[in-house]
Subunit: 240 residues, 2 copies
DNA sequence: TAGTGGTCTAGACCACGCT
DNA sequence: GCGTGGTCTAGACCACTAT
């Protein structure tokens, strides 16, 4: 267990732990064994195991709490707000927008959906449209495409029963944990449909957020296009 | 040296090192003493010093290179592109935009400038306007406000001689190292002036990036408002 | 060959959360 | 009081860079 391979030990251990998370060996919210137990199991020192666990914590895959233990990360409201919602009011407050899903339908992927979700052309996607409210007013139009194979039964659910926190649902219902995402932003004019849904005139500048989310296993699991009114809100990004 | 204060040792050492960077005790590009020397100097173990240095590296304040040493971070073209330029082409390529400064003038700060740059109302700011080209076409209108006290002599420089990489200039000429920044994004309609400079019609949706940059000492050192055409470009943000 | 940062270990003690 | 993660130490060895 001490051959100096290309990849350092702590990284190999980290990979092994991620595999166990992917396999749902430990489930969201559950505690992992403590550092000593894990170190013994993998035949490494506590320090090496600690480094692996610290890196998992940095990637938000686990949460470590002094005196309590190390827990598999859950998609709670807090995590959604701090890590996957970069919109805030002009005064700097973040609030989870309410959602109203007005359409859900399955179909064949477009060429772009197939490419970006890494699906075969014959796969099916479930498409979901919703309007989201900020401070009670319609502010976001959202169109979501999901690989049907990963979310069986979704299209038969009642769209009005879908929760606001989709990521928590993906995780609890289908074991799909969104681990990271890339967002691409543009300023676009409101289409006729956007305008109608948001109550603005056609051509009003909207902030378009194109998000591709990836699950724990690294594969794409959601494609989401949000068009946001930024009259009283803004998107925040921290640079170092 | 082993009293368990509120703040852990490695954090105290890190703060002490940052103070020395702020004081320009070590200058950008220069090597710091090695881990053992620093550890001895501060009366801590090499492991503790390593942790402090690793955190500085993570904040991009120093760069560590195996076999060579630890160096004070410089504002190079690479750093600007990877850390302070989130615009890329629709095909995913990043290119540093060329710049043409068309105005530079000093004056009293507006109320908002004074508040956000944390300046007294009687201070002076230097304002600088430029158009930036992406792929040869005007794509960004940028308005920058700087605290005059921190950049003496700037307003007397020839605006046509200002380099593309302003952060490298701030660092080399005035010892002001931009350490981090917060960007706030909105979609806004092009004003008459924007439209003229960018060659688009009034009301065209533009991506507005409002950036407040902070120096090593944590104080604000630049306020920058960029309005960007996103017809063929996009802003990228990574979420974890 | 010498000097640097990177990895790994083993062990002591501290701070926190519970019961 | 006990179990957890968090800090700190001391020391060995590896990998990279330069001379």
């Amino acid at each position: 267990m001490d051959r100096p391979l290309a990849r350092p030990l702590y990284a190999q251990v980290k990979d092994a732990l991620i595999r166990r998370l992917v396999d749902a060996d430990w489930k969201p919210g559950q505690a992992l064994p403590n550092e000593f137990a894990l170190a013994a199991e993998y035949g490494v020192s506590q320090g090496t195991m600690r480094r692996a666990l610290d890196e998992l914590a940095q990637a938000n895959l686990v949460v470590r709490r002094q005196g309590k233990g190390t827990f598999v990360a859950e998609h709670t409201r807090e995590r959604a707000m701090f890590h996957f919602l970069h919109l805030e009011t002009d005064s700097g407050q973040r609030a989870q927008p309410e959602s109203r899903v007005f359409a859900m339908k399955a179909g064949a992927p477009t060429r772009e959906e197939a490419r970006r979700l890494e699906l075969p052309a014959l796969a099916r996607v479930v498409r979901l449209s919703r309007v989201r409210l900020l401070d009670g007013a319609a502010a976001i139009v959202e169109r979501i495409a999901l690989p049907g194979a990963r979310f069986p039964g979704l299209e038969k659910m009642d769209r009005t029963e879908l929760p606001n926190e989709l990521y928590a649902l993906y995780q609890s219902r289908w074991g799909v944990s969104v681990a990271r995402a890339v967002e691409r932003l543009k300023a676009v004019p409101a289409s006729a449909e956007d305008a109608g849904l948001l109550g603005v005139t056609v051509g009003t500048p909207l902030l378009e957020i194109d998000r591709l989310a990836r699950a724990l296993d690294g594969r794409p699991c959601e494609l989401r296009l949000s068009r946001c009114l930024t009259a009283r809100h803004r998107y925040v990004s921290e640079l170092v």
